[in-house]
């Protein structure tokens, strides 16, 4: 009966973009990813291998995140997509458009209104809530990869919980530079077991991973791995007693909203190299400015 039953080769009824499935992926692929997600949630921080598919966007441009989003999105979801914290960066626009076209989902730029947020390189400043899922795009899911290039070796290290090489590397940083010389993709320990790459978010965002009410899913398309941090899970940034983990701070405030607590992007505004600082999270910045000025149309 192979090939006849709906779960073997079913195609979406009523896909929006003619000729393609709802949210692009076929049902068999979605089921495979969904089963992987269950295991990822059950073993927090462990990288589940999955049969990553080619997406119509290049590897490295968020195909892992897109496959997870495609597997979880439903008709009632409201999707937000950010890149560098901004809704209006070109790749964020492109991915948001892709799902609006293939799944017909509602989209938003407002963090609190979104049910699914796909992100590259940031966690929103606005605290997330329990009805939200944050989907991270991950380039290199293996936190040990730059210390040990072989997958066979790193898998053994994870199996044994042997993270000595990572601690040695961080300690060498301290000995050489006086600091841990990692400012983004800063490794964390999840639920006291797996060392995990939180994706290339600045370490400023690491504390937001800890005991978050929202489910966090991570997808690496090219490397064909997915992993998860369930809500209310302990996530600890690696550090040493004499060199505790600390996040970036700026002396400046956001030039638009005046925020002193958010992650700031540095802009060079003239040929003399003068600098201004603005929030990387465009929605957060907009919400803070709203009482004072009307919201600008995104994408203009």
């Amino acid at each position: 009966m192979n090939g006849l039953n709906p779960n073997a080769a079913s195609q979406a009824a009523g896909a929006l973009e003619s000729g393609y499935n709802f949210a692009y992926l076929d049902e068999q692929t979605k089921r495979m990813i969904r089963r992987g997600l269950l295991k990822a949630v059950a073993v927090p921080g462990y990288q589940v291998p999955f049969g990553g598919r080619e997406m119509p966007l290049p590897y490295g441009w968020g195909t892992g995140g897109m496959q997870l989003s495609a597997a979880i999105l439903g008709a009632d979801d409201v999707l937000k997509v950010i890149d560098q914290g901004a809704d209006d960066t070109t790749n964020a626009v492109s991915i948001r458009r892709f799902f609006a076209r293939t799944a017909g989902v509602a989209t938003t730029t407002r963090t609190p209104e979104a049910t699914v947020i796909q992100t590259r390189h940031r966690i929103p400043e606005t605290p997330l809530h329990g009805e939200q899922i944050l989907v991270f795009q991950v380039p290199i899911p293996e936190p040990l990869r730059f210390i040990e290039p072989s997958e066979t070796e790193t898998r053994t290290m994870h199996a044994l919980g042997d993270y000595g090489v990572m601690h040695v590397k961080l300690y060498e940083d301290i000995a050489t530079f006086g600091h841990i010389a990692t400012s983004y993709a800063y490794p964390v320990t999840v639920d006291e077991r797996y060392v995990m790459d939180p994706s290339p978010i600045p370490k400023f965002d690491n504390p937001k991973l800890h005991m978050s009410p929202a489910l966090m899913l991570f997808g690496a398309g090219r490397e064909k791995r997915l992993y998860a941090v369930p809500p209310f899970t302990e996530v600890v940034s690696l550090d040493f007693a004499d060199h505790p983990f600390a996040v970036q701070r700026w002396e400046e405030n956001c030039a638009f909203c005046g925020s002193h607590d958010s992650y700031l992007d540095e802009l060079i505004v003239d040929d003399a190299g003068s600098k201004r600082f603005v929030c990387s999270d465009t929605d957060y910045c907009m919400q803070r400015r709203e009482p004072f000025e009307p919201q600008q149309e995104v994408g203009q």
Partner: protein, 203 residues
């Protein structure tokens, strides 16, 4: 079985195979991400001995890539025919081979043969789909771990044997993940959940 015999048993599956599967998956994902919290699972009808939530879990997750082990109670012509037709999942006689297992309460006193994964690939473990008469009424236990802010009190109607078996099969990251289904509801119990008996951590 001939084709005529199979078609005699066939019943409808999801109304909308795409959207109902998605809704059922999201409920299951939430159930596993927040262990012990009851989630609705109402997109399928009952099928023979399978209650709606149990059948919805099958339809959402099973296909040709997922060998399934059936407890004797669920090993009926109607269930076999519908799972074969709607999911196409191979039904296996050996528990060791199963990626999913459909169980009822009496089966829970022996979980020894189900695959609990390996240190290197803890994801390659069997997922238990356990149908119960209800999701409460048992002794009150306290669950802790990922997905639970502090402690969650859960009173699934389970014999002590299940907890002993689960504990025996747990060596994190190895372990068994379970969904408990009753009527149109489901509760998730991932291997990461630590269950406390009388203030004493047991699993």
């Amino acid at each position: 079985m001939t084709v005529e015999h199979v078609s005699h048993w066939l019943q409808p599956a999801f109304n909308d195979p795409v959207l109902d599967a998605q809704v059922s998956f999201r409920a299951a994902l939430k159930a596993l991400a927040e262990p012990g919290l009851v989630q609705g699972m109402d997109r399928a009808l009952a099928l023979d001995g399978l209650q709606p939530a149990t059948y919805a879990l099958c339809l959402a997750f099973l296909d040709a890539d997922t060998p399934l082990w059936l407890a004797p109670r669920f090993d009926t012509a109607a269930i076999r025919a519908n799972l074969a037709f709607h999911c196409g999942c191979p039904i296996v006689a050996e528990r060791e081979m199963a990626l999913f297992a459909l169980l009822d309460e009496p089966e829970l006193s022996d979980l020894s043969a189900f695959d609990n994964g390996s240190e290197r690939y803890p994801d390659q473990s069997c997922t238990l789909l356990i149908q119960l008469e209800a999701l409460d009424g048992g002794s009150l236990l306290r669950w802790r771990g990922p997905g639970i802010r502090d402690v969650r009190a859960v009173n699934l109607p389970l014999a002590a044997a299940f907890w002993q078996q689960r504990s025996a099969r747990s060596a994190f990251p190895r372990g068994l993940d379970a969904f408990f289904a009753a009527g149109q509801q489901v509760i998730g119990l991932p291997r990461s959940t630590r269950v406390l008996f009388n203030l004493e951590e047991a699993a």
